[in-house]
């Protein structure tokens, strides 16, 4: 097992600092160089030339939230898979690849069955609920 120095994370911090610097620098550059003559109509949100009606922050469809939920589930799955998959080769080299393979397959089969269920029930269709909305 190799030992690393914490210094390997220096570039990450440096890059964050550099990027923040670039963005702030660009901001100040435009503060000094750009004209400032905002009029009332210039600062209204763009709505194809019409005056905007109401706020844009309205209630959104629940489908986006469901997409987010499903994403988190698969995200956690991939996070669990990453360390397992990266030792798969060394397990295989040790001659215990069959064990690892079966465990990984069971793990994935359970998830794939969930996905198959959703597919069968039509939860993966975007249009179905769309039609329902039109009926209302």
């Amino acid at each position: 097992m190799s030992v690393y120095s914490i210094d390997v994370f220096m570039p990450v911090l440096i890059l964050i600092a550099l990027t923040v610097g670039v963005v702030l620098g660009g901001h100040f550059l435009s503060v000094f160089l750009a004209p400032k003559k905002s009029s009332k109509f210039q600062t209204t949100p763009y709505e194809c030339g019409e005056l905007p009606v109401g706020m844009a922050w309205s209630m959104f469809n629940v489908r986006f939230y469901v997409v987010g939920l499903i994403f988190i589930i698969f995200d956690v799955e991939s996070v669990l898979m990453f360390p397992v998959v990266s030792v798969f080769k060394s397990f295989n080299d040790m001659g215990r690849g069959g064990l690892a393979l079966i465990e990984v397959l069971i793990f994935m089969l359970i998830l794939i069955s969930g996905m198959a269920y959703c597919w069968r029930k039509g939860d993966l269709d975007w249009v179905k609920s769309y039609k329902r909305k039109q009926v209302e």
Partner: protein
Amino acid sequence: MFLTVLFFLSATLTIASGIMVVVVRNLMHSCMALLGCFIGVAGLYVTLGANFIAAVQFMVYVGGVIILMLFAIMLTGNKPEEKVGSFLLPAMGNRRTLTWGLITALVFFLSVGKILLGMFGIGLGKKTAPTDPSLFESTVDEIGTLLLTDHVLAFEMSSVLLLGALIGAAIIARPETSKEK
């Protein structure tokens, strides 16, 4: 040296944005402060040498949970003052919330106190031998090996848990269509 800098940066970010989450009135800004808090916690994981967990923190919490929260905010009411939460909820500052808040604060104080006592050597638990904190070992292979051998049941069970969550999420989205039939 770098370890100290990283630790103090992440700790400051975590605590400052943690306070912001509670103090800020605007829900969206509160969510942004939570984003800062998660990033700070990821930094703290890095100082502990758990770089895989730090990346997991980024992937799941920053990339997933924050987005989900933003979507959830977009789901709420039509009026902007409802959406960004710039008015007082009735539950804010009544007796029941204050009681629960006090109990939470007490538990939190006790757990922090135990850690602080341990730092000053009056600890109740055993002390571990100090190692050079600026060196760490790669934890990925170890996590993977443990997941495939000792903790294989937990690994498979987590898949069942995720299956439940997946079906739950699908059913949440469904009630409208089932009523139709």
